[in-house]
């Protein structure tokens, strides 16, 4: 239990930021897809630049994690179709409900029944993918 506390705290910070930045707002996502506001683009670009810089710094310093493991930068499995098709399907859903998985969990925390319905749907969608995985191109 105790070793999971840092993850719980990091998650709390993440949920707090998602709501405070209004990245968890349906309206901000519509503004983004209609190119009406720089806000969401600014969040994404500055997040990526910060992530990129700090990952390079970690690589350069060759640090170990706090629990003593050598830090490995995760590598995703190669492919193309699954990433594009999967991304498209996810994007279709994202544009409709204006919430990606992070904000879904953050809004469930605010007590939104609507967000809970999204989460229930997302779990069913995940299960459906797991059951039908072999039938789709990867």
């Amino acid at each position: 239990m105790r070793r999971y506390i840092p993850y719980l705290l990091a998650g709390m910070a993440f949920g707090f930021i998602l709501v405070k930045s209004e990245a968890a707002s349906w309206y901000r996502i519509q503004e983004m897809f209609h190119f009406q506001n720089f806000h969401m683009f600014g969040i994404m670009f500055s997040a990526i630049v910060t992530g990129l810089t700090s990952v390079q710094l970690i690589k350069y310093l060759g640090r170990r994690s706090l629990d003593g493991q050598a830090i490995e930068i995760p590598v995703k499995p190669p492919g193309r179709k699954s990433y594009i098709y999967g991304g498209l399907i996810f994007g279709l859903g994202w544009g409709l409900i204006g919430l990606c998985p992070g904000p879904v969990f953050a809004l469930v925390g605010t007590g939104s029944i609507g967000a809970l319905a999204v989460l229930a749907g997302a779990l069913h969608g995940t299960w459906l993918y797991g059951a039908l995985k072999e039938k789709f191109p990867h």
Binding site: A13, A23, I48, S82, I89, W94, G125
Partner: protein, 188 residues
């Protein structure tokens, strides 16, 4: 003290929130050599709840190794509660004039009144059906693509992975399609 409390109630600009979100990537690496991403938790929750007689291989793995990740999303919910309820922003979402005009033309009466529009999120049978269905797309798509906005757009691009560029292009194309075509159609 008052300024701190005010700051906790106010919405944060992108140049504050963006870098903080970006720092999640090194933070997870430093805490325990973990990769920052949210949608994998949907898979873990399926793995935990899959009954013995259901035998989907995709959900047969040692989910106990991923408990850290579930703690992270429980935290995300708690953080959402703190930011959205305890330190809620008393003012409406400050929309741009262009967005405001578009939303009014779609028939919204008070656009930006809360983070999410009651027209789509109030718990009516119609809304819940819509939200559940779109949620299925989110769950299916993220697993098919192997990640969502956090795992691909943030972690994937931060670690320079080509496959995440494919995923992000797919995600953005899908989002454009539904917000330009499906959302206006649905609201008519």
């Amino acid at each position: 003290m008052d300024t701190l409390i005010n700051w906790l109630h106010e919405p944060w600009p992108w140049y504050v929130a963006g870098p903080m979100i970006g720092l999640m990537v090194p933070l997870m690496l430093v805490i325990g050599n973990r990769s920052f991403g949210i949608s994998n938790n949907l898979r873990h929750l399926c793995a935990i709840t899959q009954p013995r007689h259901v035998d989907v291989v995709f959900f047969k793995y040692n989910w106990k190794e991923h408990i850290w990740s579930l703690y992270f999303v429980i935290g995300t919910g708690l953080g959402g509660f703190l930011a959205g309820v305890a330190f809620a922003n008393p003012n409406p979402v400050a929309l741009t004039p262009g967005a405001l005009a578009m939303l009014l033309s779609w028939g919204f009466t008070a656009p930006g009144g809360a983070l999410i529009p009651p027209e789509l999120f109030a718990p009516t049978v119609r809304n819940l059906t819509f939200l559940f269905t779109a949620g299925v797309l989110v769950g299916f798509g993220t697993r098919y693509a192997g990640g969502c906005t956090s795992g691909h757009a943030i972690t994937g691009l931060s670690t320079l992975q080509l496959v995440s560029v494919y995923a992000v292009l797919g995600i953005f194309a899908g989002g454009l399609l539904s917000s330009w075509l499906l959302v206006p159609l649905l609201l008519q």
